[in-house]
Assembly symmetry: C2
């Protein structure tokens, strides 16, 4: 069903260290049945043949309609904006980067601007990719996402979705990074985005010093 | 169906900056139907009432049987071990930390030891939590994972699963981090684990200098 366009999510996997080409996939899809669908994902049950095992496997795939996009909104003094909400799927409260699903017909950057505005009221004059491609859960899903860095921020009115009860805070990047490292912040795209920003800050410090 | 035990995956979300308590969830589950199940996950379709919107929503949840565990095997010279494989769900080749699913009846640490041995042949004398809890895709799944640091490594025989065609390499941590930052390494638990190790290495350097 979902024609997920990956053109914005470039992926050139790291080559083998000796430069030899990556082998072909051992998997071949033979049949596919759609077993469930809602507006956010569908479930495919494939019969897939595996070259190595020389037999078929039933492979259940969660195929996402939208791409996930997170935004790291950074103030000049080093504070980041975070959004807190109860996540129904995990049953837990979660502090996260502003984020959301970007439908296939929208560019990732436009989706990032829209989600940032809706969840925090912020708009930004400066945008830059921070993590160009993350596969969130690749054992059984095809969900792909990205994180943008947003600077030169302007505050405005939030416009959350009808079901969203959101808390919006700013906190020093180093405090958010500490929370990601010790399990108080758990969302994978948020953890990856915060730690990527920390790595970039470290590199800039090293280059400057 | 799946009695997912979370006791090893501790989560104490960061408090609000003013110390005020986190609000109750706006969601209440009223009905639940199981719409699909295989050995790895099941699909629940819930009717959930939302306080803020004051109406019911159909909420599809992907509930995972296993926890995900990743291992960052670190050599004294700073090289890390990575495993490469074609991921059927994404259709792409992926360099990752050794990782796998840990069934409910097994501890995370025992699962980490088992996966490390199966995928790389390595055993380790030193184990430490690196990321205690990550929710991989919390918009519609309850999948939770963790990453361990493994040191004092001993090489042995691999024992991959029948369908797994694995490439095993070692690479300097800083090269793996660079690949995570520019989208050549995309698996979320791998990206988070590598960047967490980089943050820890930076902190150690700062403390030493």
């Amino acid at each position: 069903m979902h024609g997920f366009k990956r053109k914005e999510l470039k992926h050139a996997p790291a080559a083998r260290p000796d430069g030899s080409p990556l082998a072909e996939t051992p998997w071949r899809r033979d049949t596919r049945l759609e077993r469930f669908a809602n507006p956010f994902f569908c479930i495919f049950e494939d019969q897939a043949w595996n070259r190595r095992a020389d037999r078929h496997f039933d492979y259940g795939i969660v195929s996402f309609r939208n791409r996930a996009v997170g935004i790291l909104p950074l103030e000049p003094d080093g504070r980041v904006w975070l959004v807190g909400q109860h996540r129904y799927a995990t049953g837990e409260f979660s502090w996260e980067l502003p984020m959301g699903g970007v439908p296939p017909e929208m560019t990732l950057l436009d989706g990032a601007k829209k989600e940032l505005k809706e969840e925090t009221g912020l708009s930004a004059d400066y945008w830059e990719p921070l993590l160009p491609l993350v596969h969130l859960s690749n054992s059984v899903t095809d969900e792909a996402g990205a994180v943008f860095l947003a600077r030169d921020l302007h505050e405005g009115a939030m416009a959350p979705e009808a079901s969203e009860e959101l808390w919006v805070i700013t906190t020093p990047l180093e405090d958010a990074v500490a929370a990601a490292l010790d399990g108080r912040i758990t969302d994978s795209l948020t953890v990856a985005g915060l730690l990527a920003m920390a790595a970039r800050t470290r590199d800039a410090s090293a280059a400057g010093g």
